[in-house]
């Protein structure tokens, strides 16, 4: 079963904040633990070795946690050729199971899209080797950022989708809600106490207020069809004119998964690696003949939008955006995907 598939009715417990360190200690004994940590000015999701490293008072991590499952550089195999024979070494799978602790619900939900795309008929063993053995404990957002729009993308600031366990900050403790069987097993830890009616009521109120505080993104119904119709509309040029064609929006995105395969070789041996790639780069579609079917930023940016809002909804029944807002805050020219979607929904052209 893919983690985060909801096998169980929600059961919940309370984790008092002063007991969190002991819970993390026990997790660390059994698993490799990834959690939000401070690195200079930014928060990143990194492996931790002590509970004190964890920062839970944060907006969202600068980079999405996808690299834990789909690293920027992934060795696929090593090879050696000798006297016409080729030897291939595939790296061993993961030995220790892992847990990703304290990520945001949008990012947890993003994993569900990666599961769909990298799963299915041609299952990606490298991804699922990490994914299957990794528990996801996420932290609900009680104060979403102005750049967040998960609710409009089908998720929500307290959405359990993609998590095994969902924590919600009640100020002196967290309400922990089991989403999967594996999440429920975590609740057996002695750090958790029984929850009560009052905590559940407070949690409900926080959830409601959090959702109400989010500005909805105006999105046309059947946008996926509409986009096909406006594919050749001149509006794309106006929308994308300021784009610099960098990799920020795709590399930071929790759901972008495009990659390149290359060999790093010296003499007769080498390594085949998978590295991230981006549809925003000209090289992504550059053909050996010299032709580039997506010659300018316009075609490349359009691809990004079409993929997220038309192709993926059609092929995977899920939007390719979970509304984390990273591309909104980090784009150097503030090319805001919410405005793009709104403008394309507005019926100009088509």
């Amino acid at each position: 079963m893919i983690p985060g598939g909801y096998g169980l009715p929600p059961s919940s417990k309370i984790l008092k904040k002063d007991r969190l360190p002991s819970f993390l200690e026990r997790l660390l004994e059994e698993r490799i633990v990834f959690a939000p940590v401070r690195r200079g000015e930014v928060i990143l999701i990194r492996e931790i070795h002590a509970p004190s490293e964890v920062v839970l008072e944060y907006e969202n991590a600068k980079e999405s946690p996808k690299s834990i499952f789909f690293p920027e550089r992934e060795p696929l195999f090593r090879y050696r050729t000798e006297k016409g024979k080729v030897e291939v070494d595939i790296p061993p799978g993961r030995e220790r199971s892992r847990v990703v602790f304290g990520i945001r619900p949008c990012d947890a939900r993003g994993l569900l899209l990666l599961d769909k795309v990298l799963g299915g008929e041609y299952r990606d063993p490298y991804y699922f080797d990490k994914r299957a053995e990794t528990l996801v404990v996420s932290l609900a957002c009680d104060h979403p950022n102005p750049s967040c729009f998960c609710l409009s993308m089908g998720g929500g600031p307290c959405s359990p989708e993609g998590s095994d366990l969902l924590l919600l900050d009640l100020s002196d403790g967290y309400l922990a809600e089991a989403v999967s069987e594996r999440g429920a097993a975590l609740l057996e830890d002695p750090a958790f106490e029984k929850s009560d009616e009052e905590s559940l009521a407070v949690a409900k109120k926080i959830k409601r207020e959090s959702e109400v505080s989010m500005k909805p993104v105006a999105m046309k119904e059947n946008l996926e069809e509409h986009l096909e119709r406006v594919f050749d509309d001149p509006v794309w040029k106006d929308l994308t004119e300021t784009c610099l064609g960098c990799g920020i929006c795709t590399y930071l995105c929790p759901t972008c998964y495009c990659f390149d395969l290359c060999d790093e070789a010296a003499g007769s041996s080498g390594e085949r690696i998978r590295v991230w790639d981006s549809c925003q780069f000209p090289l992504f579609t550059q053909q050996a003949s010299g032709l580039n079917p997506r010659p300018t930023a316009k075609e490349r940016f359009r691809q990004r939008i079409m993929h997220k809002f038309s192709y993926l909804p059609k092929s995977q029944a899920m939007l390719g955006c979970v509304g984390c807002g990273r591309c909104v805050t980090e784009c150097p020219v503030n090319l805001d995907i919410r405005e793009v979607v709104k403008s394309l929904s507005g019926g100009n052209g088509g």
């Binding site: 690195r39 200079g40 000015e41 930014v42 008072e57 600068k62 980079e63 920027e72 550089r73 104060h143 950022n145 102005p146 750049s147 004119e241 300021t242 610099l244 064609g245 960098c246 990799g247 920020i248 590399y251 930071l252 390149d260 290359c262 790093e264 690696i273 590295v275 981006s278 780069f281 000209p282 090289l283 909104v328 805050t329 980090e330 150097p332 020219v333 503030n334 090319l335 805001d336 919410r338 405005e339």
Partner: protein
Amino acid sequence: MQQLTNEIRAIARKLLREKKVEVVIGFERGSMPLRSRPCFIRKEEEVNRLFWDGFCENALAVYLPKRKERAAIVAKGCDSRAVVELIKEKQVQRDRVILIGVPCRGMVDRSRIESSAAPRRILEMREIEDTLILRGTDFEETLKRSEFLHESCKTCTHPNPVLHDVLVSEWLEEKNEDPFADIQTFDALTAEERWDYLNKEVDKCIRCYACRNACPLCYCPECFVDASLPQWIGKSIDSSDTMIFHLMRAYHLAGRCVSCGACERACPVGVDIRKLNRKLVKDVKDLFGYEAGLNLEQTSPLATFRPDDTESFIVNP
């Protein structure tokens, strides 16, 4: 700020009406507080989108090379220097660009403002002279603008446009402080310490190339990192490859970098790209007496051949 905005709009309107240019490249209000962003104005009725405040941080000259239209560009000191350099390098034709010069008081670093307000969230910002008034759901706070400038703006010695066709507002007094104090501190470290520092910075890099793409002087049709025949460097974030990317880029910009800071501002993960570029800016100034983009006359060091060059780095004397 409103006055500058009005002046820019009036100039743009006139240029478009008189068909002096086909497009005005300037700034408009962004989609969030503390953000302004580039915009392209082609119609007179759209000039009111143009806007000016302390967050107009992008280096607009990046949009000039290969542009077929006759363009006007809103230019701070650094932008004008980038245009000068681009004209010298034959990427922009002087008679096809109009510079709307704006003397610049320095651009504000939004991440510093955000961290000073954290964990409170800023929902609205107003800029009046040297103050920034921030407002959130349950707070209002006034900050001194000049205390939150970008690094590149703090050490900027040319806030006034070095080249302009129209000027907005008044000339500012130019500072005379040593702009290279940070580089002297860096120079004073041992080679090993410098190497460690650079490695630590480069390790953050995700190779999104935003630094390169935001740079007005990085306009090569094919960047060396993208070449595949031959492939000069590996594609991954292995630190040796990332380091090569940064070192080579810095060298390719030696004597050309105008210290606009666009690269480090674009970087999403805060790599200190500035150290390398500024170090080379300083070296080029010390060794060849050249500062990029100050005028159209002086020959660039890379384009200079002098038989009497001392070559003191090879032989003595």
